[in-house]
């Protein structure tokens, strides 16, 4: 993992924390649905927070493809580029 990627992971992780009420440990493989068990409303709030933090738009179509934290980090990096 290069430095930029590691930074992006940390940034995404810090966005997850306020929504991580069960204190699930966050890794690249953590699944939003299976591990964090977020409902659709939490997902929506979280996406809005991520979008505003990184000044990007993650369409619902893209969201449907993102299951894990690692995939979100990839998407954020790509969208910021």
């Amino acid at each position: 993992m290069n430095e930029t990627r590691a930074n992006a992971f940390e940034e995404v992780k810090s966005q997850i924390e306020p929504f991580n009420q069960k204190g699930v440990p966050i890794t690249e493989e953590t699944s939003f649905q299976d591990d964090l068990e977020w409902d659709s409303l939490t997902v929506m709030d979280f996406v809005a927070a991520v979008e505003d933090e990184f000044d990007i738009v993650i369409t619902m179509n893209q969201q449907a493809e993102i299951e894990t934290v690692g995939q979100l980090v990839d998407a954020v990096q790509e969208l910021r580029a």
Binding site: D39, S40, L41, V47, E51, D55, I56, V57, M60, N61
Partner: protein
């Protein structure tokens, strides 16, 4: 092969290859529902009206019931002129068209109702669909295809979301009624991409209205087309009853208004009105318009008559607003929590603590003789359980008093109010 006389109950058992049962995904919801019904509660989603006496009264479970959850805002369902027009059309044109609008399913009545809509909205083009759901589904999916963007409010109606999915557009949500949130998303989208901003005049779950006067100019500044769903405002918002966009003075900037015949108009059907001449071409490429049978002649006749009467319904309009304001204040004074500080529309949402309280309250009201809608997530925003009340211009002041008395009794019996 199964033995003769030994047929399994479940047809799935005959399969030789074990694959995942397609019903399995509903298992958690089914279980939740069964737990609720096992507690002895009346199923809130299986109400049968045995008799309908007027726009505001029906017989449910053998009991006289005031209807406060029908969207029949203007009470047109039993209007004598509307009924006469429907009967006449039934006699003259038969019970159905058995065909698509683009083949054998356009009768003079369909042209007449489209003409009535053009006059009602003072717009050049009108396209009538078989339901309001299909109007949103059809227009959104046809306008916004792959590579185009639809920007929508997170609390949008299912038909709007489904229109996005059907068209395979890039779909971007903004926080409910949040102008700044919309602005940020519009700024971030590619300049050259085609964009459609979809808004609703009244949001049906909480009965709140959109700041269209801020959002529509913003969308236009970013080069987007604007579609406004005015399903819950037709007939009683704005000087001519054209909706929230008219009331807020921005209707001239709206590209497409979507509406329905199943609320204020009092029958069934959906429509799109627009000043864009190319809207006419959509008839040939809009699948939910083309690949379905058109509305029956009696339905378009009742709709046309009702729409023309709604142009001159000032008294009804005033009484509907009076009912909504009185009920809002009355419920507040009783100690109920309402979704909006004031009555913003003809929908009032009473917020409850949880599912159990909502269902018990709903059932207590029904037993007192009052029907309201129970709504739960995900149809409602932010995980709220609520009882949705929608008023009718035909509710008398005495009925509003009765409604308040029933809310008080049910609220005290269930502990929803102190």
């Amino acid at each position: 092969m199964t033995e003769p006389g030994n047929q399994p109950d479940d047809p799935g058992e005959q399969a030789t290859v074990t694959s995942r049962n397609l019903f399995d995904k509903f298992e958690p919801l089914m279980q939740e529902r069964n737990r609720l019904l096992d507690s002895g509660i009346r199923d809130p989603f299986a109400i049968v009206m045995d008799e309908v006496k007027s726009p505001t009264e029906a017989i449910i479970d053998g009991r006289n019931t005031i209807l406060l959850g029908t969207y029949n805002y203007m009470g047109m369902t039993f209007d004598p002129d509307v009924i006469a027009a429907g009967k006449d059309a039934l006699d003259r044109f038969g019970s159905g068209t058995t065909g698509s609008r683009v083949l054998n399913g356009t009768y003079c009545g369909h042209m007449e109702v489209e003409q009535a809509l053009k006059e009602f909205y003072a717009m050049d083009h009108a396209m009538v669909f078989s339901t309001g759901y299909q109007a949103n589904l059809g227009i959104i999916s046809t306008l916004a295809g792959k590579g185009d963007y639809v920007i929508l409010d997170a609390d949008s109606h299912a038909s709007i979301y489904d229109g996005c999915f059907l068209g395979n557009a890039e779909t971007v949500r903004f926080r409910h009624n949040n102008v700044e949130n919309l602005a940020k998303r519009l700024e971030r989208l590619p300049r050259e991409a085609g964009k459609l901003v979809v808004l609703e005049g009244v949001y049906s779950m909480l009965g709140d209205i959109a700041p269209l006067d801020e959002m529509i100019p913003l969308a236009k500044q970013h080069g987007a087309m604007v579609l406004v769903d005015e399903a819950h405002s037709m007939g009683f918002f704005g000087e001519n009853g054209r909706g929230v966009a008219e009331a807020q003075g921005v209707i001239d900037q709206v590209d497409f208004i979507i509406g329905t015949f199943s609320k204020s108009v009092g029958t069934v059907g959906g429509f799109c009105v627009s000043n864009h001449a190319k809207t006419e071409f959509l008839r040939l490429v809009c699948r939910p318009y083309t690949f379905t049978a058109s509305l029956p002649p009696s339905v378009v006749a009742t709709a046309a008559t009702s729409i023309r009467k709604l142009m001159h319904a000032g008294d009804k309009r005033a009484h509907l607003w009076e009912n909504s304001k009185r009920l809002h204040k009355g419920l507040r004074d009783l100690g109920f929590r309402l979704a909006t500080d004031e009555a913003e529309s003809a929908i009032l949402a009473v917020l409850l603590d949880d599912q159990e309280q909502a269902v018990r309250m709903w059932q207590a009201l029904l037993e007192h003789g009052l029907y309201v809608n129970m709504a739960r997530p995900p149809a409602t925003p932010s995980g709220v359980y609520l009882l949705r009340c929608s008023l009718c211009a035909e509710h008398s002041s005495e009925q509003v008093d009765e409604i308040l008395a029933m809310f008080e009794a049910a609220g005290r019996a269930t502990g929803a109010i102190g």
